[in-house]
Symmetry: C2
Subunit: 254 residues, 2 copies
C-alpha cells in the first residue's frame, strides 16, 4: 500500500531533508517516527530535497507500508497522522495523509515545484518574521527585481546558480524549465519571490534571489541577469540568499 | 530631554518586561543597552508591563536623557535607534524613536491599550505560527465567542480574571473600562481576540481568552461569562490561555 503525505516544517533546527547518519534531518526524523507508528521500517521518497534551514509548507513524501504488519491488518491513516503529529508537531506537521496509486512517486510523479522566498525590505527588522524572512535594509528597486525575472523563464541552463552535487562523477545537466518567476509586493516592505519550475538544482532559488537582490540594491547592474546566466559558472553569481527566507510552497502533480 | 520609543519584541526568551535582578527581561535588557549607547543610566517608564512570554508590537517606553553627557552635547535619536537595534534586533526592535513633550509619560499619558490574542483553531498545528498563536484543535463556536464579549464592555469589575499583585498590602481595585472587545475570523482557522481598555490588570486578557475558549469549545456554558464576572473571584475563571498567543498591539495617546 502506497501512502502520500503533505508535510510542513520549520527547517531551522534541521540539517535539511535528506536522511544522513549522525545528523538531525527532517526525512530521518519523519521516517523514524513513521517506522515506530507503523511497526516496520519506512523508506521515504521526497518531492524536494530542501537544504539545511529551508522551510516547507507543502512538501510531499511517498512510501510503502505493509498492512499485515499492523494489528487488525489495516492501516488507519488518520490515526497515523495524529500519532506522527503528536510526536513531531509543531516543528514538523503532517498536513494531509492519504492512500496513493501504487504508481505514485512523490519525486518522479511531480510535474513542478513552487518555492517562495520572502524578503523584508525596510530599515527596521521584525521580531515575528525573523525566522522566515530575509531582512534586507537597503532599499530595493522592485522594477529591477521584476525585469530580472524575464531571462529565467523557459528551458535554460542554470549552471551559474547551481552547486554541482559533491558525489557527481559525470557531468550533470543544470538545464531546468522555469514555468513562472515573479516578485510580489505584499506591502509594509514585505516582498516575495515566487518561482515554479519542473525541478530545481541545488541552491538555485537562493542564488537567484541573492543575485536579484544585489541588482535591486544597485550592487549589480540591472539587466546583468542575462550575462550571469550566459557565464554558466557558479562563480558568476556569488550572492547566496540565506536559507531561512526560503520555503518549498507546493508540489504540482497531474 | 524626554524620549519616546515604540518597541516590538518576541517575548519568548524573556521573563516579561519589568526589570528584575538576576533574570532576563525586556526592560532590563533595553535599559542596559540604552545606558551604554547614551553613556548614562536610563530609567524606563513603560505603557504595558507584559508578562513572561508575552509579545509586543507597539509597546511604548519613555525616559529622560541628559544631552550634556554625550559628545557634542547632542542626542542623535536616529543613531541611537540604529545602535540599539544593532545590539538587540531581531528579538527586540525599536520601531520608532522621537523627542517627546517633557510632560509625556508612557504609562500615565496612555488613554488605552490594545491587545491581540491569536488562536489557531484547526486540527493540525502550523510550524510557522507556533511562537505567536495558541493551537486549539477542538472546534470553537465563533457565535458563542462573540456573545461572550458583550458583558465585558464598559466599566466592570474584573476580579474574576485578575491576579492580585504579590506585593499588594491594601485592597486593589480590579475595575477597568473595556472600550472594545471582539473576535475576528481571519480564515483558515485563524481567530483573533482584539480587546481595548483604559488599562488592564494582571493576567486579564489571558484569563478572558481562556474562559471564552472554554465556552466556545463547549466546556463551559454559553452565557456563563456574566456569571463568572459577578463571582468576583479568581477561582471562577481558572482557564488561562498561554502567554505566547498574546501581543500588546498598540498604545493609544491623546
Amino acid at each position: 500500500m502506497r501512502v502520500r503525505l503533505t508535510v510542513a516544517y520549520d527547517g531551522a533546527g534541521f540539517s535539511g531533508f535528506a536522511a544522513q547518519p549522525g545528523v538531525r534531518t527532517v526525512g530521518g526524523t519523519l521516517a523514524d517516527v513513521l517506522g515506530r507508528v507503523l511497526r516496520q521500517p519506512v523508506t521515504l521518497t521526497v518531492a524536494g530535497r530542501t537544504d539545511a534551514g529551508v522551510h516547507a509548507w507543502g512538501q510531499v513524501v511517498s512510501f510503502d507500508v505493509d498492512p499485515s504488519a499492523l494489528p487488525g491488518g489495516e492501516v488507519d491513516l488518520a490515526a497515523t497522522q495524529r500519532s506522527v503529529n503528536g510526536a513531531l508537531a509543531p516543528t514538523v506537521v503532517v498536513r494531509d495523509a492519504r492512500v496513493a496509486d501504487p504508481a505514485f512517486d512523490a519525486r518522479r510523479s511531480a510535474l513542478a515545484r513552487r518555492y517562495r522566498y520572502s524578503v523584508l525590505n525596510r530599515e527596521t527588522p521584525d521580531p515575528f518574521l525573523r525566522g522566515t524572512t530575509w531582512h534586507v535594509p537597503a532599499p530595493l528597486d522592485l522594477d529591477i527585481l521584476r525585469l530580472a525575472c524575464d531571462p529565467l523563464i523557459g528551458e535554460r541552463d542554470f549552471s551559474s546558480f547551481c552547486r554541482v552535487p559533491r558525489r557527481a562523477t559525470s557531468p550533470v545537466s543544470m538545464v531546468r524549465r522555469v514555468i513562472d518567476a515573479r516578485w510580489v509586493d505584499l506591502g509594509d516592505g514585505l516582498l516575495r519571490f515566487d518561482v515554479e519550475a519542473s525541478s530545481f538544482c541545488h541552491q538555485m532559488v537562493r542564488a537567484l534571489t541573492g543575485t536579484m537582490v544585489a541588482m535591486g540594491a544597485g550592487r549589480k547592474k540591472p539587466g546583468e541577469m542575462a550575462t550571469v546566466m550566459r557565464a554558466r559558472s557558479r562563480a558568476a553569481a556569488p550572492d547566496l540568499a540565506p536559507a531561512h527566507g526560503l520555503c518549498l510552497w507546493e508540489v504540482v502533480y497531474p
